[in-house]
């Protein structure tokens, strides 16, 4: 379920976040229906959840590429991009991932795939066109670090436990209701409603935790990028460019690029209202400060 992206308030991030949340909600609704309506027991339930987690884990790359509208490009379509990624992979000792391009002006990138062997790295046309090659390299190295750090696996595990916690909470609650609820049916809220509320709350809380893990992984990937490229300042300037408002102004007439609409569906005012807790990425200032610290570290004598 892990999708990586840059720029905390880009349309892409929100869009992918939305997809991810909906997917999670779907889990909950699905689980509740199974549990309540079909009266499936706890064990088959866990089996189903584990099955879904596996399915998600094994299809994560395809799902993420589909959701973002990324198109796999071969070497002859984007030779420079391929060259750059090949060299970074050689430095990071990673197999070469598939390379995809998203046709939008907003500079952004993400990596996906359950293991380095099944990884894909996607960049937007805007990233390639609007950033200097050194900055693109910093961004690509960040994405490759996600691959090297196995962030898809980590995040799948994180969401799996969140799902499991949700189910156990419901199971406990359901049992409790059954024991104490007999004979007082008249003035009770329907059981299914309580179960649903608890599920949603559990889901909501676990999402906050998962997002916190995600932000931490971003710091780790920033560090990885600094290590691979040897130049944290490139990623720093790339991040500043990516999050700068100027790049939100489309270079092309929106009417020409229909697919662009999807990225501008969310009104600009939403950005300011989103609290730090709900972000997959740490705030820019914190990332820049951490990178500056890495730069200082790298300047220290090597023992």
């Amino acid at each position: 379920m892990k999708r990586r992206s840059y720029g905390r308030d880009s349309g892409l991030t929100l869009r992918i976040l939305l997809t991810g949340s909906l997917l999670g909600l779907l889990y909950v609704v699905f689980a509740v229906i199974l549990f309540q309506v079909l009266s499936v027991g706890l064990v088959p339930m866990i089996v189903i959840v584990v099955g879904l987690a596996f399915f998600q884990y094994f299809t994560s790359d395809k799902l993420a590429l589909k959701a973002s509208g990324a198109k796999i490009v071969e070497r002859d379509e984007a030779p420079e991009l391929h060259d750059m990624i090949e060299r970074l992979c050689a430095l990071a000792d990673l197999p070469k991932p598939r390379v995809a391009v998203i046709d939008t002006d907003v500079p952004n990138a993400f990596a996906t795939g359950r293991s380095p062997k099944h990884a894909a790295v996607a960049v937007t046309r805007g990233l390639w066109q609007r950033l200097e090659p050194k900055e693109v390299e910093g961004v690509l190295a960040h994405e490759l670090s996600h691959v090297a750090n196995r962030d898809v696996l980590i995040m799948t595990l994180a969401s799996f436990f969140a799902m499991l916690a949700g189910i156990l909470t419901r199971f406990g609650l359901y049992g409790g209701m059954f024991g104490g609820g007999r004979g007082r049916d008249n003035n009770q809220v329907p059981v299914w409603l309580i179960v649903l509320v608890v599920s949603v709350v559990t889901y909501f809380l676990s999402q906050i935790l998962i997002l916190a893990i995600s932000r931490y992984r971003e710091f780790a990937a920033d560090r990885g990028s600094a290590l691979i490229t040897g130049a944290p300042e490139n990623l720093m300037s790339a991040l500043q460019k990516i999050s700068s408002e100027i790049f939100r102004i489309p270079q092309q007439d929106l009417r020409e690029v229909e697919s662009m609409n999807a990225f501008f569906i969310i009104p600009a005012s939403v950005k300011g209202s989103i609290h730090g807790l709900f972000l997959t990425h740490p705030p820019l200032e914190k990332r820049l400060a951490a990178l500056a610290e890495i730069a200082r570290e790298m300047g220290r004598p090597v023992a």
């Binding site: 002859d76 060259d83 060299r87 992979c89 990071a92 197999p95 070469k96 090659p133 670090s145 090297a148």
Partner: protein, 189 residues
């Protein structure tokens, strides 16, 4: 990759694998007698320079090392920056063994200064076939692969490359994962 790396992310770049660069000197005979390929007189080492002060100091030491290597073997050493932001140290010498020694000395110098992780590859150019043949040595993997550019654009003669792999497999440690055989189209050799 260890648990620590999985939990906290990689904290440092992998260092170079055990060096097997000298295998190329041994394979030179086979390359010449069986395939008619001879050194084109240039080999080089590619690395990613760091932006830190220590690296600049290490690079200054490297310059002294380069001068030493040049004086000893009579090779000509050149330094180039490529479009990808990598630095090439090119050893020009008609003798392949001297090229390998020069490249090895540069790599060793960087490694001793603590920058072994920055080493990308060593590249040696051969001629005698239809197209020039490059043998690329990946430091992280400690293995070689052939690179044969073909035609005008960025195209490779994969058939030729696989044939070279088959013929040299016994003498050279060849990278088994074909997806790691990156090309060096702009090699300033």
């Amino acid at each position: 990759m260890g648990l620590r790396d999985a939990l906290f992310g990689k904290q440092k770049l992998a260092g170079p694998a055990r060096e097997r660069l000298f295998a190329l000197s041994t394979a030179a005979v086979t390359l010449d007698t069986e395939l008619g390929l001879r050194s084109a007189g240039a080999g080089g080492v590619v690395f990613k320079p760091l932006s830190s002060g220590d690296f600049v100091r290490a690079e200054n030491d490297l310059q002294q090392l380069l001068d030493g290597v040049a004086a000893e073997s009579g090779s000509k050493l050149e330094r180039r920056e490529d479009a990808f932001g990598y630095t090439w140290i090119i050893v020009r010498d008609s003798d392949l063994e001297d090229q390998v020694t020069g490249v090895h000395a540069v790599a060793q110098g960087l490694e001793e200064a603590g920058f072994g992780g920055q080493l990308l590859a060593a590249v040696f150019k051969f001629e005698g076939g239809k197209e020039p043949v490059y043998w690329v040595y990946g430091y992280k993997r400690g293995a070689f692969w052939p690179f044969v550019p073909a035609g005008e654009g960025k195209e490779r003669d994969n058939a030729e490359e696989l044939e070279l792999k088959a013929k040299l497999e016994k003498e050279l440690p060849i990278e088994p994962d074909l997806s790691r055989w990156f090309g060096v189209f702009d090699a300033p050799l």
